[in-house]
Amino acid sequence: MEHNKTTTRFIIISFLFQFTLQISSYGQDSINNKETEYTEHTFFNTRIADIHSIETLERGVLDVRLAHRMGRISSGVSEFFGLNQASSQLGLEYGITNNLMVGVNNNTLNKLYSGFIKYKILKQSTGKIVMPVSISWLSNTEVQTGKLNYPNDQYYFSSRLFFTHQLIIARKFSDKFSFQISPTLVHKNIVETRADKNDIYLMGLATRYKIKRKIALTGEYNVIFPHQIYSNFNGSLPVNSLSIGIDIYTGKHTFQFFITNSVAVDEKSFLTESTEKFFKKGIHFGFNISRLFNIVNYYE
Protein backbone atom coordinates (compact mmCIF):
# COMPACT_ATOMS: atom_id res chain seq x y z
CA MET A 1 0.00 0.00 0.00
CA GLU A 2 2.80 2.36 1.08
CA HIS A 3 4.69 1.32 -2.03
CA ASN A 4 1.71 2.28 -4.22
CA LYS A 5 1.50 5.71 -2.62
CA THR A 6 5.19 6.36 -3.23
CA THR A 7 4.83 5.29 -6.86
CA THR A 8 1.82 7.58 -7.37
CA ARG A 9 3.67 10.52 -5.80
CA PHE A 10 6.70 9.84 -7.97
CA ILE A 11 4.54 9.79 -11.11
CA ILE A 12 2.77 13.05 -10.19
CA ILE A 13 6.04 14.81 -9.36
CA SER A 14 7.71 13.68 -12.57
CA PHE A 15 4.67 14.72 -14.57
CA LEU A 16 4.65 18.19 -12.95
CA PHE A 17 8.42 18.50 -13.47
CA GLN A 18 8.06 17.68 -17.14
CA PHE A 19 5.11 20.03 -17.51
CA THR A 20 7.08 22.88 -15.88
CA LEU A 21 10.00 22.18 -18.20
CA GLN A 22 7.71 22.33 -21.20
CA ILE A 23 6.16 25.64 -20.04
CA SER A 24 9.60 27.14 -19.53
CA SER A 25 10.76 25.96 -22.94
CA TYR A 26 7.68 27.53 -24.55
CA GLY A 27 8.55 30.73 -22.69
CA GLN A 28 12.07 30.66 -24.08
CA ASP A 29 10.72 30.07 -27.57
CA SER A 30 8.53 33.12 -27.41
CA ILE A 31 11.39 35.22 -26.04
CA ASN A 32 13.69 34.02 -28.81
CA ASN A 33 10.82 34.55 -31.27
CA LYS A 34 11.69 31.23 -32.90
CA GLU A 35 10.09 30.55 -36.26
CA THR A 36 8.53 27.20 -37.12
CA GLU A 37 10.55 25.30 -39.69
CA TYR A 38 8.62 22.74 -41.68
CA THR A 39 10.43 19.69 -43.02
CA GLU A 40 10.39 19.38 -46.78
CA HIS A 41 11.19 16.58 -49.20
CA THR A 42 10.76 13.67 -46.83
CA PHE A 43 10.56 11.73 -50.09
CA PHE A 44 11.36 12.86 -53.64
CA ASN A 45 7.98 11.97 -55.08
CA THR A 46 4.34 11.29 -54.22
CA ARG A 47 5.13 7.57 -54.59
CA ILE A 48 7.82 5.37 -53.03
CA ALA A 49 7.68 2.65 -55.67
CA ASP A 50 4.15 1.29 -55.56
CA ILE A 51 2.63 2.95 -52.52
CA HIS A 52 1.98 6.62 -51.91
CA SER A 53 4.48 8.58 -49.89
CA ILE A 54 3.68 11.35 -47.43
CA GLU A 55 4.28 14.01 -50.09
CA THR A 56 1.55 16.00 -51.82
CA LEU A 57 1.91 18.25 -54.85
CA GLU A 58 2.19 22.00 -54.35
CA ARG A 59 -0.68 24.26 -55.35
CA GLY A 60 -1.07 24.59 -59.10
CA VAL A 61 1.32 21.79 -59.99
CA LEU A 62 0.25 19.13 -62.48
CA ASP A 63 1.99 15.79 -62.37
CA VAL A 64 1.91 13.69 -65.52
CA ARG A 65 2.84 10.14 -64.64
CA LEU A 66 3.75 6.98 -66.47
CA ALA A 67 4.35 3.71 -64.66
CA HIS A 68 5.29 0.27 -65.96
CA ARG A 69 5.65 -3.14 -64.36
CA MET A 70 7.39 -5.68 -66.57
CA GLY A 71 7.27 -9.47 -66.68
CA ARG A 72 9.48 -11.81 -64.68
CA ILE A 73 13.17 -11.06 -64.97
CA SER A 74 13.71 -14.84 -64.81
CA SER A 75 11.68 -15.37 -68.00
CA GLY A 76 14.91 -15.22 -69.98
CA VAL A 77 16.14 -13.96 -73.33
CA SER A 78 13.01 -14.96 -75.29
CA GLU A 79 10.95 -12.51 -73.21
CA PHE A 80 13.84 -10.02 -73.03
CA PHE A 81 14.01 -10.61 -69.27
CA GLY A 82 10.40 -9.59 -68.83
CA LEU A 83 10.53 -6.38 -70.85
CA ASN A 84 8.35 -7.84 -73.60
CA GLN A 85 5.39 -7.89 -71.23
CA ALA A 86 4.16 -4.90 -69.28
CA SER A 87 1.26 -3.57 -67.29
CA SER A 88 1.15 0.17 -67.23
CA GLN A 89 -0.52 3.14 -65.63
CA LEU A 90 -1.06 6.63 -67.01
CA GLY A 91 -1.92 9.33 -64.52
CA LEU A 92 -2.76 12.99 -64.15
CA GLU A 93 -2.45 14.44 -60.68
CA TYR A 94 -2.93 17.98 -59.47
CA GLY A 95 -2.24 20.02 -56.34
CA ILE A 96 -5.33 22.04 -55.42
CA THR A 97 -3.71 23.57 -52.36
CA ASN A 98 -0.29 23.00 -50.89
CA ASN A 99 -1.77 20.26 -48.71
CA LEU A 100 -4.46 18.77 -50.92
CA MET A 101 -4.01 16.87 -54.14
CA VAL A 102 -6.23 14.80 -56.40
CA GLY A 103 -5.45 12.41 -59.22
CA VAL A 104 -6.91 10.11 -61.83
CA ASN A 105 -5.18 7.07 -63.26
CA ASN A 106 -5.79 4.48 -65.91
CA ASN A 107 -4.42 0.97 -65.50
CA THR A 108 -4.06 -1.59 -68.25
CA LEU A 109 -4.32 -4.56 -65.89
CA ASN A 110 -8.03 -5.39 -65.35
CA LYS A 111 -8.81 -2.10 -67.18
CA LEU A 112 -9.02 -0.19 -63.94
CA TYR A 113 -9.70 3.51 -63.61
CA SER A 114 -8.88 5.08 -60.29
CA GLY A 115 -9.30 8.45 -58.65
CA PHE A 116 -7.80 9.55 -55.37
CA ILE A 117 -7.64 12.41 -52.95
CA LYS A 118 -4.70 12.97 -50.62
CA TYR A 119 -4.54 15.49 -47.82
CA LYS A 120 -1.57 16.42 -45.70
CA ILE A 121 -2.96 16.65 -42.16
CA LEU A 122 0.24 17.40 -40.22
CA LYS A 123 3.70 18.54 -41.22
CA GLN A 124 6.87 17.58 -39.41
CA SER A 125 8.36 20.74 -37.92
CA THR A 126 10.85 22.18 -35.48
CA GLY A 127 11.10 25.58 -33.82
CA LYS A 128 8.02 27.18 -32.34
CA ILE A 129 5.77 24.25 -33.16
CA VAL A 130 7.45 20.90 -32.67
CA MET A 131 5.90 18.05 -34.61
CA PRO A 132 7.86 14.80 -34.82
CA VAL A 133 6.04 13.32 -37.81
CA SER A 134 4.13 14.25 -40.94
CA ILE A 135 0.72 12.69 -41.48
CA SER A 136 -1.30 12.39 -44.69
CA TRP A 137 -4.58 10.72 -45.55
CA LEU A 138 -5.24 8.97 -48.84
CA SER A 139 -8.58 7.78 -50.18
CA ASN A 140 -8.60 5.96 -53.48
CA THR A 141 -11.54 4.60 -55.49
CA GLU A 142 -11.11 2.13 -58.35
CA VAL A 143 -13.56 1.05 -61.01
CA GLN A 144 -12.91 -2.13 -62.93
CA THR A 145 -14.12 -1.64 -66.47
CA GLY A 146 -12.75 -4.92 -67.80
CA LYS A 147 -14.92 -7.95 -68.33
CA LEU A 148 -16.17 -9.65 -65.19
CA ASN A 149 -16.47 -13.42 -64.91
CA TYR A 150 -20.24 -13.45 -64.73
CA PRO A 151 -21.96 -14.35 -67.99
CA ASN A 152 -24.66 -12.33 -69.74
CA ASP A 153 -23.66 -9.12 -68.00
CA GLN A 154 -25.76 -10.07 -65.01
CA TYR A 155 -23.76 -8.27 -62.40
CA TYR A 156 -24.15 -5.31 -60.12
CA PHE A 157 -22.15 -2.15 -60.79
CA SER A 158 -21.07 -2.17 -57.14
CA SER A 159 -19.07 -5.35 -57.87
CA ARG A 160 -16.73 -3.23 -59.97
CA LEU A 161 -15.76 -0.87 -57.16
CA PHE A 162 -12.77 -1.06 -54.82
CA PHE A 163 -11.64 1.41 -52.19
CA THR A 164 -8.33 2.00 -50.45
CA HIS A 165 -7.83 4.23 -47.44
CA GLN A 166 -4.42 4.93 -46.00
CA LEU A 167 -3.13 6.89 -43.05
CA ILE A 168 0.44 7.77 -43.94
CA ILE A 169 2.82 8.63 -41.11
CA ALA A 170 6.40 9.58 -41.94
CA ARG A 171 9.44 11.08 -40.33
CA LYS A 172 12.54 12.53 -41.91
CA PHE A 173 15.15 11.48 -39.37
CA SER A 174 17.99 13.23 -41.12
CA ASP A 175 18.68 14.82 -44.47
CA LYS A 176 19.41 11.34 -45.79
CA PHE A 177 17.11 8.96 -43.98
CA SER A 178 13.30 8.94 -43.99
CA PHE A 179 10.91 6.28 -42.78
CA GLN A 180 7.20 5.83 -43.27
CA ILE A 181 4.46 3.56 -41.99
CA SER A 182 1.02 3.45 -43.52
CA PRO A 183 -1.84 1.53 -41.92
CA THR A 184 -4.09 0.62 -44.84
CA LEU A 185 -7.63 -0.57 -45.41
CA VAL A 186 -8.61 -2.05 -48.75
CA HIS A 187 -12.33 -2.57 -49.22
CA LYS A 188 -13.57 -4.87 -51.97
CA ASN A 189 -17.28 -4.73 -52.64
CA ILE A 190 -17.15 -8.32 -53.78
CA VAL A 191 -14.91 -11.23 -52.81
CA GLU A 192 -14.91 -14.79 -54.03
CA THR A 193 -16.11 -16.74 -50.99
CA ARG A 194 -17.83 -16.05 -47.69
CA ALA A 195 -14.62 -16.83 -45.90
CA ASP A 196 -12.79 -13.96 -47.61
CA LYS A 197 -12.94 -10.60 -45.89
CA ASN A 198 -14.28 -7.59 -47.79
CA ASP A 199 -12.19 -5.31 -45.57
CA ILE A 200 -8.51 -6.19 -45.76
CA TYR A 201 -6.10 -4.55 -43.33
CA LEU A 202 -2.45 -4.05 -44.15
CA MET A 203 0.59 -2.23 -42.87
CA GLY A 204 2.91 -0.50 -45.29
CA LEU A 205 6.53 0.14 -44.38
CA ALA A 206 8.74 2.33 -46.54
CA THR A 207 12.09 3.99 -46.34
CA ARG A 208 14.46 6.24 -48.29
CA TYR A 209 18.18 6.68 -47.98
CA LYS A 210 19.87 9.42 -50.02
CA ILE A 211 23.19 8.42 -51.47
CA LYS A 212 23.68 11.64 -53.45
CA ARG A 213 21.89 14.97 -53.28
CA LYS A 214 19.36 13.92 -55.92
CA ILE A 215 19.69 10.13 -55.85
CA ALA A 216 18.19 7.90 -53.21
CA LEU A 217 17.67 4.22 -52.47
CA THR A 218 14.11 3.30 -51.60
CA GLY A 219 12.35 0.26 -50.23
CA GLU A 220 8.82 -0.67 -49.32
CA TYR A 221 7.08 -3.67 -47.82
CA ASN A 222 3.33 -4.10 -47.45
CA VAL A 223 2.24 -6.64 -44.87
CA ILE A 224 -1.18 -8.26 -45.18
CA PHE A 225 -2.46 -9.20 -41.74
CA PRO A 226 -3.31 -12.92 -41.53
CA HIS A 227 -6.72 -14.65 -41.78
CA GLN A 228 -8.22 -12.25 -44.32
CA ILE A 229 -7.68 -13.73 -47.78
CA TYR A 230 -8.50 -17.37 -48.55
CA SER A 231 -9.11 -17.32 -52.31
CA ASN A 232 -6.38 -17.84 -54.85
CA PHE A 233 -5.44 -15.29 -57.48
CA ASN A 234 -3.74 -16.77 -60.51
CA GLY A 235 -3.46 -20.10 -58.74
CA SER A 236 -1.83 -19.07 -55.47
CA LEU A 237 -2.56 -17.08 -52.36
CA PRO A 238 -1.54 -13.40 -52.28
CA VAL A 239 1.74 -12.52 -50.61
CA ASN A 240 3.17 -9.33 -49.16
CA SER A 241 4.49 -6.96 -51.80
CA LEU A 242 8.12 -5.90 -51.66
CA SER A 243 9.97 -3.33 -53.78
CA ILE A 244 13.55 -2.13 -53.73
CA GLY A 245 14.69 0.67 -55.99
CA ILE A 246 16.42 3.88 -56.79
CA ASP A 247 15.00 7.40 -57.19
CA ILE A 248 16.61 9.98 -59.45
CA TYR A 249 15.27 13.47 -58.95
CA THR A 250 15.98 16.26 -61.41
CA GLY A 251 13.67 18.98 -60.12
CA LYS A 252 10.84 18.61 -62.63
CA HIS A 253 11.33 14.93 -63.39
CA THR A 254 11.49 12.04 -61.00
CA PHE A 255 12.66 8.69 -62.31
CA GLN A 256 12.03 5.70 -60.11
CA PHE A 257 13.51 2.33 -61.07
CA PHE A 258 12.97 -0.71 -58.91
CA ILE A 259 12.53 -4.43 -58.65
CA THR A 260 9.27 -5.67 -57.23
CA ASN A 261 7.10 -8.76 -56.83
CA SER A 262 3.89 -6.99 -57.83
CA VAL A 263 2.70 -6.92 -61.40
CA ALA A 264 -0.07 -4.37 -60.92
CA VAL A 265 0.29 -0.63 -60.44
CA ASP A 266 -3.10 0.15 -58.88
CA GLU A 267 -3.53 0.15 -55.12
CA LYS A 268 -5.90 -2.74 -54.44
CA SER A 269 -4.17 -5.08 -56.88
CA PHE A 270 -0.57 -4.71 -55.74
CA LEU A 271 -1.60 -4.62 -52.09
CA THR A 272 -3.92 -7.63 -52.01
CA GLU A 273 -3.38 -9.58 -55.23
CA SER A 274 0.40 -9.88 -55.61
CA THR A 275 1.15 -13.56 -55.94
CA GLU A 276 4.76 -13.57 -57.09
CA LYS A 277 7.33 -14.65 -54.52
CA PHE A 278 10.23 -12.20 -54.47
CA PHE A 279 12.86 -14.71 -53.40
CA LYS A 280 11.61 -17.50 -55.68
CA LYS A 281 12.30 -15.94 -59.09
CA GLY A 282 9.21 -13.71 -58.85
CA ILE A 283 11.10 -10.47 -59.41
CA HIS A 284 9.84 -7.91 -61.91
CA PHE A 285 11.45 -4.74 -63.14
CA GLY A 286 9.32 -1.60 -62.78
CA PHE A 287 9.64 2.12 -63.23
CA ASN A 288 7.69 5.33 -62.61
CA ILE A 289 8.31 8.56 -64.46
CA SER A 290 6.82 11.72 -63.08
CA ARG A 291 6.92 15.12 -64.82
CA LEU A 292 5.76 18.26 -63.00
CA PHE A 293 4.22 21.30 -64.75
CA ASN A 294 3.51 24.56 -62.97
CA ILE A 295 0.05 25.30 -64.35
CA VAL A 296 -1.03 28.21 -62.15
CA ASN A 297 2.27 30.09 -62.12
CA TYR A 298 2.60 29.66 -65.87
CA TYR A 299 -0.61 31.50 -66.65
CA GLU A 300 -0.42 34.12 -63.91
Binding site: L100, I117, S159, I190, E192, R194, N198
Partner: protein, 118 residues
Protein backbone atom coordinates in the same frame (compact mmCIF):
# COMPACT_ATOMS: atom_id res chain seq x y z
CA UNK B 1 -12.81 28.23 -57.82
CA UNK B 2 -10.69 26.29 -55.34
CA UNK B 3 -13.53 26.30 -52.82
CA UNK B 4 -16.02 24.99 -55.38
CA UNK B 5 -13.62 22.25 -56.34
CA UNK B 6 -13.12 21.35 -52.68
CA UNK B 7 -16.87 21.07 -52.11
CA UNK B 8 -17.21 18.90 -55.22
CA UNK B 9 -14.43 16.60 -54.07
CA UNK B 10 -15.87 16.29 -50.57
CA UNK B 11 -19.29 15.42 -51.99
CA UNK B 12 -17.74 12.87 -54.32
CA UNK B 13 -15.91 11.33 -51.38
CA UNK B 14 -19.12 11.17 -49.35
CA UNK B 15 -20.82 9.47 -52.29
CA UNK B 16 -18.19 6.76 -52.35
CA UNK B 17 -18.95 5.98 -48.72
CA UNK B 18 -22.48 4.99 -49.75
CA UNK B 19 -21.09 2.70 -52.42
CA UNK B 20 -19.68 0.17 -49.93
CA UNK B 21 -21.05 -3.37 -50.10
CA UNK B 22 -20.07 -6.59 -48.37
CA UNK B 23 -20.87 -9.12 -51.09
CA UNK B 24 -19.35 -12.43 -52.10
CA UNK B 25 -19.69 -14.39 -55.31
CA UNK B 26 -21.11 -17.44 -53.55
CA UNK B 27 -24.10 -15.48 -52.34
CA UNK B 28 -24.95 -13.16 -55.20
CA UNK B 29 -23.58 -14.71 -58.40
CA UNK B 30 -23.92 -18.45 -57.86
CA UNK B 31 -27.18 -18.54 -59.82
CA UNK B 32 -25.37 -17.12 -62.86
CA UNK B 33 -22.29 -19.27 -62.71
CA UNK B 34 -22.31 -23.04 -62.70
CA UNK B 35 -18.80 -23.06 -61.23
CA UNK B 36 -20.21 -21.54 -58.07
CA UNK B 37 -23.24 -23.83 -57.86
CA UNK B 38 -23.46 -25.84 -54.68
CA UNK B 39 -24.81 -29.38 -54.73
CA UNK B 40 -27.42 -29.51 -51.96
CA UNK B 41 -29.55 -32.40 -53.22
CA UNK B 42 -29.13 -35.69 -51.34
CA UNK B 43 -25.97 -34.66 -49.57
CA UNK B 44 -24.05 -37.71 -48.41
CA UNK B 45 -20.74 -38.51 -46.75
CA UNK B 46 -19.39 -40.42 -49.71
CA UNK B 47 -20.52 -37.98 -52.38
CA UNK B 48 -19.96 -34.60 -50.73
CA UNK B 49 -18.28 -34.67 -47.35
CA UNK B 50 -15.56 -37.29 -47.34
CA UNK B 51 -13.00 -34.81 -48.71
CA UNK B 52 -14.13 -32.17 -46.23
CA UNK B 53 -13.62 -34.48 -43.22
CA UNK B 54 -10.38 -35.93 -44.55
CA UNK B 55 -8.73 -32.57 -45.22
CA UNK B 56 -10.05 -30.59 -42.28
CA UNK B 57 -10.72 -32.99 -39.41
CA UNK B 58 -9.08 -36.38 -39.77
CA UNK B 59 -5.51 -35.30 -39.05
CA UNK B 60 -6.34 -34.53 -35.38
CA UNK B 61 -9.56 -36.50 -34.85
CA UNK B 62 -7.81 -39.61 -36.11
CA UNK B 63 -9.28 -42.31 -33.92
CA UNK B 64 -7.24 -41.54 -30.84
CA UNK B 65 -9.62 -38.84 -29.67
CA UNK B 66 -11.91 -40.44 -27.06
CA UNK B 67 -15.02 -38.27 -27.51
CA UNK B 68 -14.84 -37.07 -31.11
CA UNK B 69 -13.34 -39.09 -33.92
CA UNK B 70 -13.98 -38.00 -37.49
CA UNK B 71 -11.56 -40.10 -39.49
CA UNK B 72 -14.11 -42.33 -41.21
CA UNK B 73 -17.81 -42.56 -41.98
CA UNK B 74 -18.77 -44.59 -38.87
CA UNK B 75 -17.03 -42.20 -36.49
CA UNK B 76 -18.30 -39.04 -38.23
CA UNK B 77 -21.83 -40.48 -38.37
CA UNK B 78 -21.88 -41.42 -34.70
CA UNK B 79 -20.60 -37.98 -33.65
CA UNK B 80 -22.97 -36.09 -35.94
CA UNK B 81 -26.00 -38.03 -34.75
CA UNK B 82 -25.38 -37.53 -31.04
CA UNK B 83 -28.15 -35.56 -29.35
CA UNK B 84 -27.20 -31.86 -29.29
CA UNK B 85 -24.07 -32.47 -31.35
CA UNK B 86 -21.88 -29.37 -31.65
CA UNK B 87 -20.25 -30.41 -34.92
CA UNK B 88 -21.85 -27.71 -37.06
CA UNK B 89 -21.61 -24.98 -34.39
CA UNK B 90 -17.89 -25.48 -33.97
CA UNK B 91 -17.28 -25.42 -37.72
CA UNK B 92 -19.53 -22.49 -38.57
CA UNK B 93 -18.18 -20.28 -35.80
CA UNK B 94 -14.79 -20.63 -37.38
CA UNK B 95 -13.07 -20.75 -34.02
CA UNK B 96 -11.64 -24.23 -34.32
CA UNK B 97 -8.01 -24.38 -35.44
CA UNK B 98 -8.66 -21.44 -37.78
CA UNK B 99 -10.13 -23.69 -40.43
CA UNK B 100 -12.06 -21.52 -42.85
CA UNK B 101 -14.59 -23.28 -45.02
CA UNK B 102 -16.51 -22.21 -48.05
CA UNK B 103 -20.19 -21.39 -47.85
CA UNK B 104 -20.98 -24.47 -49.89
CA UNK B 105 -19.14 -26.80 -47.51
CA UNK B 106 -20.99 -25.29 -44.56
CA UNK B 107 -24.33 -25.59 -46.32
CA UNK B 108 -23.67 -29.24 -47.17
CA UNK B 109 -22.50 -30.07 -43.66
CA UNK B 110 -25.63 -28.52 -42.14
CA UNK B 111 -27.94 -30.44 -44.51
CA UNK B 112 -26.04 -33.66 -43.90
CA UNK B 113 -26.43 -33.41 -40.13
CA UNK B 114 -30.11 -32.42 -40.39
CA UNK B 115 -30.87 -35.34 -42.67
CA UNK B 116 -29.40 -37.96 -40.36
CA UNK B 117 -25.74 -37.92 -41.43
CA UNK B 118 -25.99 -40.65 -44.06
Amino acid sequence: MVKKLLVFILFSFMFTLYACYYDNEEDIYAKFNSKLNCDTIDVSYTKNLRYFFDTNCASCHDGSHPTCNLNNYNNAHSYATQPNTNLYTVVVNNDHKNRVLTGCELKQLKLWIENGAQ
